[in-house]
Amino acid sequence: MITAEQKPLKEIIEYISPYDRILLVGCNECVTVCAAGGRKEVGLLASALNLHFLKQGRTIDIKEITLERQCDPEYVEELISEIDRADAILSMACGCGVQTIVERYKEKPVFPAVNTKFMGASESQGIWAERCRGCGDCLLGITGGICPVARCSKQLLNGPCGGTSNGMCEIAPDVECAWCLIWERLKALEMEKRYEEIMEAKDWRPAGGGGPRKIIREDLSL
């Protein structure tokens, strides 16, 4: 999923200070799972903002809404009944959600309330870690199911580098060396020989090097 973290309150306040009526929009998908921008976080942020402005002797009107999926125009359409009563929109979805609102409601300023972080998975309660860079040409089938693009600090396709120490990466003692993980996996699968095959220079076009990416499914489009 896409992970996110709420922005510092100060930054959010700076965005919305010029406005009196705010539409605060959460999302029921990824940001709900990583507890950054679901219904609960929308409520908490609204309270924090109300309190801040009250202390300044100002009341602002914050309308809370959490959409099923903010990156989908169909659900973003649901804001139509509220949009006229808002001076600005504060989105707690990932960057995709923010921009879907921007495209639909061009006349309103839209601000992000979270920093979109990465595509990751939950390692344990409250911990999410990066697992995929969306390089567009998945290598997991030949790397024992561990991604060197997302998980090697140098993105090496023929690692490990000389900085590995006890299975950990040189950049931090709590970062596992992706190539040690790959090697352990290849050994367990008795695929050690695969390690010696050189992975050729990667074509970064599918990874975004060729410009903004798009998927067009003619079988699905209307």
Partner: protein, 307 residues
């Protein structure tokens, strides 16, 4: 001969090669390059010019290389994939070769986290093995990485690094084999302090016949103090400094420690001269270049062959 490289000629003659390195200055101080290179010029066959080492901005490797080339010396252009994509690397290789640099080292480079621009984005369009492949393709096939023909291709003698001490040990020879397969002509190793482990590594290298496919230069670093030895043991990732070495440095007075460090370096060379597959030495005297001549002489590697 694949190239005009002096290092290639020395290695082909069967003599033990000696290389060392000069780190370019952090400013427009060309005389600093000349000064450092002058200290070692008669005692080495070629001089590595580091490329933004430890991820700190310095004079570029090719410019530093040209400065010492103009002194009649033989620079080894170091190139890390951290700071440039394949276009920039290929243009720098052509540029350096056009200025008479014919030997290079292909590296991935220290992570930007360790340098003075930790906020920079590491490029890593290629890794070090893919860089070796690219330089070989430019030389042997006369083609750019993208496939187009090169008019008058650069002919580089190609080096790569190996760290016999990083984890996992069992993978280290396989990784070397990959670098050889990619096209490395010579290897400079990480600093060797654990000689037993290195000799075991070399046995494994020879068992696979890699010693006949690539020239391995053993990395030697003299230690200035027990503090430096401890720092390397505890703080530098992938470095193996055995307790005996620390104890030996501790066993002499502070004033005698630099001399002891040099003694250890000389003894290491003398012992590794006998190791099958070791074709020379790469002496990394970090900010201590003036000691290189003494080490080379006392290790019996002087005078250098004249070719």
């Amino acid at each position: 001969m694949k190239t005009e490289s002096k290092l290639e000629k020395v290695l082909a003659s069967g003599a033990l090669a000696v290389t060392s390195e000069v780190g370019p200055p952090r400013g427009a101080i060309p005389e600093k390059m000349r000064e450092k290179a002058s200290l070692i010029k008669d005692h080495v066959d070629a001089i590595n010019i580091t490329d933004n080492q430890t991820a700190m901005v310095r004079m570029s490797s090719w410019a530093g290389g040209v400065i010492i080339k103009l002194m009649g010396l033989d620079p080894i252009l170091q190139m890390v994939t951290r700071d440039r994509n394949r276009l920039a690397m290929q243009s720098d290789i052509i540029g350096a070769y056009s200025m008479g640099i014919n030997t290079m080292m292909c590296l991935s480079g220290d992570h930007v986290k360790f340098g003075d621009h930790p906020m920079a984005n590491g490029v890593f369009d290629l890794d070090s093995i893919q860089l070796v492949q690219m330089v070989r393709k430019m030389r042997d096939e006369g083609k750019f990485q993208g496939g187009a023909d090169i008019k008058s291709p650069p002919k580089m003698f190609i080096g790569a690094a190996a760290n016999p001490f990083a984890d996992p040990f069992e993978l280290r020879v396989m990784r070397l084999a990959k670098k050889v397969k990619a096209g490395a002509d010579f290897i400079q190793t990480q600093c060797i302090f654990n000689l037993n482990k290195f000799e075991k590594y070399m046995e494994m290298v020879c068992d696979r016949g890699l010693d006949e496919q690539v020239h391995i230069l053993a990395g030697i670093t003299p230690m200035k103090s027990v503090g430096m030895a401890r720092y390397m043991k505890n703080k530098v990732p992938g470095m193996d400094v055995p307790d005996e070495v620390i104890k030996r440095m501790e066993g002499v007075s502070k004033e005698e420690q630099p001399e002891e460090g040099i003694k250890i370096a000389i003894e290491s060379i003398q012992r590794l001269k006998e190791a099958k597959g070791v074709h020379g030495f790469h002496i990394m005297a970090i900010e201590w270049e003036e000691k290189v001549p003494q080490i080379v002489e006392k290790a019996g590697l002087f005078p250098r062959p004249v070719l």
